[in-house]
Symmetry: C2
Subunit: 229 residues, 2 copies
Amino acid sequence: MNVIDHVRDMAAAGLHSNVRIISSLLLTMSTNNPELFSPSQKYQLLVYHADAIFHDKEYRNAACKYNMALQQKKVLSKTTKVRPSSTGGTTSALQAQNLPSEIEVKYKIAECYTILKLDKDAISVLEGIPSRQRTPKINMMLANLYRKAGQERSAVTSYKEVLRQCPLALDAIIGLLSLSVKGAEVASMTMDVIQSIPNLDWLSVWIKAHAFTHGGDNQRCGTWKHFGI
Amino acid sequence: MNVIDHVRDMAAAGLHSNVRIISSLLLTMSTNNPELFSPSQKYQLLVYHADAIFHDKEYRNAACKYNMALQQKKVLSKTTKVRPSSTGGTTSALQAQNLPSEIEVKYKIAECYTILKLDKDAISVLEGIPSRQRTPKINMMLANLYRKAGQERSAVTSYKEVLRQCPLALDAIIGLLSLSVKGAEVASMTMDVIQSIPNLDWLSVWIKAHAFTHGGDNQRCGTWKHFGI
């Protein structure tokens, strides 16, 4: 077990304050002696360090360290491409599996930027993730940021993507209805799941009620009476 | 896939705002019709709901929901004991594995209490976890709370437990030294790991320097010069 494994284990165990101190010391060592850690080890150290800082709610500092991690990841990818079989394909693949996900690092940067009210920067980071690699939480964050920025079409596309992967994502449903997407269209995206689960028929009434609310059809908001509201 | 599986998947995917809405609606359904969900399903719903509220930084509300989850877990344990083989041993065991950890729920409650500056309540919750089941992060939180409350002996015991499980937990080391535990004793607890990892010999000097600092031996604090400080 090398020192990076120890840091990773402590990070996984939620020992944030401990990870923060040791990763900081090891990164200083690495600056003084660049040969000490491999590019992959430096990438890991930067991510664990940034995670600990994020946990301490120092979002500007965390975003800075996550960005350094991404720069390091680029170096790492180049090294891997130049010498694809130097350490044996299987070992490299296994090492890659253990590395913190680059997508997750970008999501964390966007989270920092959102908290710091740097919405444009957050959108730009998330847009840098290819559509196919965007997880539901990335699409949800993007959708909310697009809606706030007035980019309604993009917001609708992202909310729909959340709903495609998680048909019971009710906040995404509210988002779509608030952007004037028709209730019937939204209902059709969730109908299969609602019908496949017992006792969930009230959910289509819930969608209808929200559709009326956002459609400005105040008279028909009587639908809420079904919920005793 | 039932509706609880959908909620669990959304929680795992980090769709907190969506989990918050659907779990709230399902818990209302469950109040109106107690037969609708099993005790285990209610427990899960309460934990996922509390997690979403915790994510929204509403710590008082989250602690309340986590406590309701613990109450529900008690009901669940009783039910399981009364009818051990009603649904077949293997199925029950599998279901139990999928349930959110009760230890983790207690840790979250303690985290809420700590943020709300209810230190005594936080200590009391964590002390309710049997020593053998305490993970490193639980011992770390307990140690910090004990130290703040002036319960020095208990703090030392908990920090040592962290170090026993994670010998490179440098914040636990600082904690021990600040409580006047001898540098030599602390060093002996980490020596095996430090010696087994190359290029980590500076760490024993780091421990020595911290020991001098906390020992009030200002002249010998010259040890910090090794670090260029």
